[in-house]
């Protein structure tokens, strides 16, 4: 079985969890004899290609001939994101307008004719344009390669997935790692939402990283439940080494590590810290990360008068993150909304017991973490206090948590994904036979 997979990033150059997940999944698929052509906008050449063949979209010439370009154009002209719906227009006027519109599209389309497009592969200001050009190149790639199923990760690659499907007629699987609702709360960017929904509607099957995300897809994007399957993420800790650090302070340390944004629930961490500090001063709290609620958080901590026991580190990366886990006694992820959430697994892998919000996807796969509602500051404080005070609680969550985390293998997730490939392949064969 051969898969044409569209991603946005791949290790070692990653800025989020998506690249890591793609890496783990493709390695798992390789073990199940699934071959993956992995397309990304901008590859650096130092990606680990042991399990995948990387196609760098920046290297692909979209179209060789004008005829090719014309047939493709017919199939992928939907790529323009501007809406064609103009109110109060008669049918004749509408046709006229549409012709004009198609002409414009063709003009922009021609620019890429015979050329390569250098993608940044970042999440910059011209992201929308890159997303569209990526789809254009995707359609070319879909013509140049043979494969059985298309698999596209998140909204950035949805258009690429649709384009490849139109060109090749192969079934499309859309993998949702996060939705616009997770990123922004209720204040969604309509353009992004539309792209997500178009991808979901065009897909033959949608993979959600948690039941939580699956519910969002069903309820907010109005997709039929039968089409959406949950496959929980896994983690690959095979290369993680144990780490020992010398502590500078005698107190135990409770850590928040992540972006300091609405989605991550930093304010609940602060309020719970305040409650714990009312009872005991034998503990320090650390908030590691940066984000748009950073300053507000500092002000709140100062106002509560707990600054002497509450520390901000700013943004941490790489080694510092690992050191932070090694310094921690309790890890807290009070996310308001978290499609999956890999960081508690990293904490537990480092022997740090975790408190996670029930509103996270990872809560669905963990038994040996303490789960609270993100808004329930009392329960959160109580869990912190319990882990700091009651030794048996600590040793049990650490011991069983480690076993549990080590059992979350990409191998298992990949097997489920392969089943999904098989199912969509069968369906598409049936449809062509009829």
């Amino acid at each position: 079985m051969k898969i044409l997979m569209f991603g946005w990033e791949f290790p070692p150059h990653i800025s989020g969890g998506l690249g890591t997940a793609c890496d783990g999944l493709t390695k798992g698929l390789a073990k199940h004899q699934v071959e993956v052509l992995f397309v990304m906008p901008s590859a650096s050449g130092d990606e680990d290609q042991s399990a995948v063949q990387i196609i760098n979209a920046s290297d692909v010439v979209a179209f060789q001939t004008k005829e090719e370009a014309h047939t493709l154009f017919e199939k992928v002209q939907f790529l323009q994101v501007t809406s064609n719906l103009i109110p109060y227009l008669g049918p004749d006027e509408y046709t006229e307008q549409m012709d004009l519109h198609r002409q414009e599209e063709w003009n922009t389309f021609k620019i890429s004719f015979g050329n390569k497009y250098k993608f940044s592969g970042k999440y910059g200001t011209n992201l929308m344009e890159e997303v569209m050009r990526y789809a254009l190149v995707a359609s070319a790639i879909a013509r140049q390669h043979t494969f059985d199923v298309i698999h596209a990760h998140d909204w950035l690659t949805n258009m690429a997935g649709i384009a490849a499907k139109r060109v090749s007629g192969k079934p499309l699987v859309i993998h949702v790692h996060a939705t616009e609702y997770d990123r922004t709360g209720e204040d969604v960017n309509q353009q992004v939402y539309d792209l997500e929904r178009r991808g979901m509607e065009a897909a033959d099957r949608i993979i959600a990283v948690s039941d939580l995300t699956r519910n969002t897809i069903i309820n907010k994007y109005h997709i039929h439940p039968d089409k959406v399957v949950t496959v929980h993420n896994a983690v690959d800790f095979s290369t993680v080494e144990d780490r020992h650090v010398v502590r500078g302070v005698p107190e135990k340390i409770v850590t928040f590590l992540g972006r300091i944004t609405y989605q991550k629930g930093p304010e609940y961490f602060i309020e719970a810290a305040y409650k714990v500090l009312q009872k005991t001063k034998d503990v320090r709290f650390v908030m590691a990360g940066s984000g748009d609620m950073f300053h507000r958080s500092i002000r709140r901590v100062a106002k509560l008068g707990i600054s002497s026991h509450f520390h901000f580190t700013g943004f941490l990366r790489g080694e510092d993150v690992k050191n932070m886990f090694a310094h921690s006694d309790v890890y807290v992820m009070p996310s308001v909304s978290e499609p999956f959430g890999i960081s508690p697994l990293e904490a537990m892998r480092a022997g740090v017991p975790a408190i996670i919000s029930k509103q996270s996807g990872v809560a669905e796969v963990l038994n040996h973490a303490i789960k609270v509602d993100f808004w329930d500051v009392n329960a959160l404080a109580d869990a912190m206090y319990g882990l700091l005070t009651y030794n048996a609680l600590r040793s049990m969550t650490v011991k069983h948590g480690l076993e549990e985390v080590n059992a979350l293998k990409w191998d298992h997730a990949a097997a489920k994904v392969k089943d999904i490939y098989r199912a969509v392949l069968e369906e598409s064969l049936k449809n062509t036979n009829v």
């Binding site: 109580d382 005070t389 009651y390 030794n391 048996a392 609680l393 040793s395």
Partner: protein
């Protein structure tokens, strides 16, 4: 000689804890969820205790002495009935007055004290014995330990306290090829006779009665009496022991459980070689077949039939040890409120909630559990225990 059937029902309700946060420690000494306890007791009384007692009373009147049953009612259940459902308690007293119902002794708090020390265990049993005399006007001769926890030493202790008979689980790993359907004796004190639960026939009612996936659904009294008669073709006695809440609560009235119970005595007595006796009568009538060797404690819980449901992990052990470390000082304090709270915190259910087997083996655990995770249960219990520790004089 006629073959014997023993029916015994366990009546127990724990005092459930309220949500007790760490910032309550040292400030708030009310630990129990009065609302939940009252609601549950009222519900169970009206769905199970009162209607089933009435049915059993009618059956006793109908069959005279030919239909008899046994109960043990934990001190926690007695107290909560007094508080929240006095009619239910009255209906048990009414049953006691018929002379055809045996009330057994157990630990007052439905506690695990038999696993701690003989002295603490005996205190608990004596206290319950007194409560049975006071409420039901009987001096218990038969003993049943919390959750049917039994070992050679626990049995010997019961014998020392003057009990002639004790109930235990017919655990497969103890019996091996032997049948539970005979009278056995304790390996250390042969004068203590043992009635062993036939778990298959007991669970047919308690767990499987309403299970439509079960090949033998629907279970009729006639079919069931036939199974008993079949088991007694060779063997001597069948002991059917279960939670009383099976009637009307775990198996709701709509399942037909009451019709089943109503028809059962008639169907059993249709087999003219069968009789229904109380545990004390049954033990007095039959000859023991062999001593039973139980070096490690067994119980009627879970697949393992051991004590791992309450003592299987570090949290349970830590909570357990911390609790009993306070006992002597609490007794010495003479503080009645403190002693009452201590009694209620001993109930085995609190430890059951902390069981981590829940994750693998656990529909039954989930059913009885007010907590969403054993970790939550432990945190809550330890917060309460921290406050109890502060209240206890040094």
């Amino acid at each position: 000689m006629k073959k014997t059937i023993c029916l015994y029902f366990q009546v127990h309700q724990p005092y459930r804890l309220r949500q007790y946060r760490f910032f309550d420690i040292g400030k708030n000494h009310s630990y129990f969820d009065d609302f939940a306890n009252k609601t549950i007791m009222s519900k169970v009384a009206s769905r199970c205790y009162i209607p089933t007692n009435r049915l059993i009373l009618d059956l006793i009147r109908e069959y005279g002495g030919a239909f008899q049953v046994a109960f043990s009612v934990s001190g926690m259940a007695i107290e909560q009935m007094e508080q929240y459902a006095p009619q239910a308690l009255d209906s048990f007293k009414e049953l006691a007055a018929t002379g055809h119902v045996e009330f057994l002794a157990e630990t007052y708090s439905h506690s695990l004290s038999s696993l701690i020390s003989p002295k603490k265990f005996k205190n608990q049993v004596l206290m319950h014995k007194k409560a049975v005399e006071e409420h039901f006007g009987q001096k218990p001769k038969t003993f049943r330990n919390t959750e049917l926890i039994y070992s050679d030493t626990i049995g010997a202790l019961a014998a020392e306290m003057g009990f002639a008979t004790m109930l235990a689980e017919g655990a497969r790993h103890i019996l091996g090829w032997k049948s539970p359907n005979y009278l056995y004796v304790n390996a250390l004190s042969p004068k203590l006779q043992l009635l062993l639960r036939n778990f298959r026939l007991s669970d047919d009612i308690a767990f499987r009665f309403s299970d439509r996936e079960w090949g033998d659904w629907p279970l009729t009294a006639e079919k069931y009496a036939g199974w008993i008669a079949g088991a007694l073709e060779k063997d001597e006695m069948v002991n059917i022991f279960m939670d009383y809440e099976s009637f009307g609560e775990h198996q709701p009235a709509e399942t037909g459980i009451f019709d089943f119970l109503k028809a059962l005595p008639g169907m059993i007595l249709n087999h003219t070689n069968l009789e229904i006796l109380t545990p004390a009568q049954a033990a007095a009538k039959h000859q023991p077949i062999a001593p039973l060797h139980v070096p490690y404690a067994i119980s009627w819980a879970d697949e393992e039939r051991d004590i791992s449901a309450w003592q299987g992990n570090e949290m349970q052990q830590e909570a357990f040890n911390n609790l009993y470390a306070l006992e002597d000082r609490i007794k010495k304090s003479g503080d009645m409120d403190l002693q009452r709270d201590f009694r209620r915190l001993q109930t085995s259910d609190h430890f059951y909630y902390m069981c981590t087997k829940l994750f693998s083996d656990g529909d039954v655990h989930k059913y009885f559990n007010p907590y969403s995770s054993p970790y939550d249960a432990f945190i809550n219990y330890m917060n309460v225990l921290s406050d109890l520790t502060l209240r206890t004089p040094k």
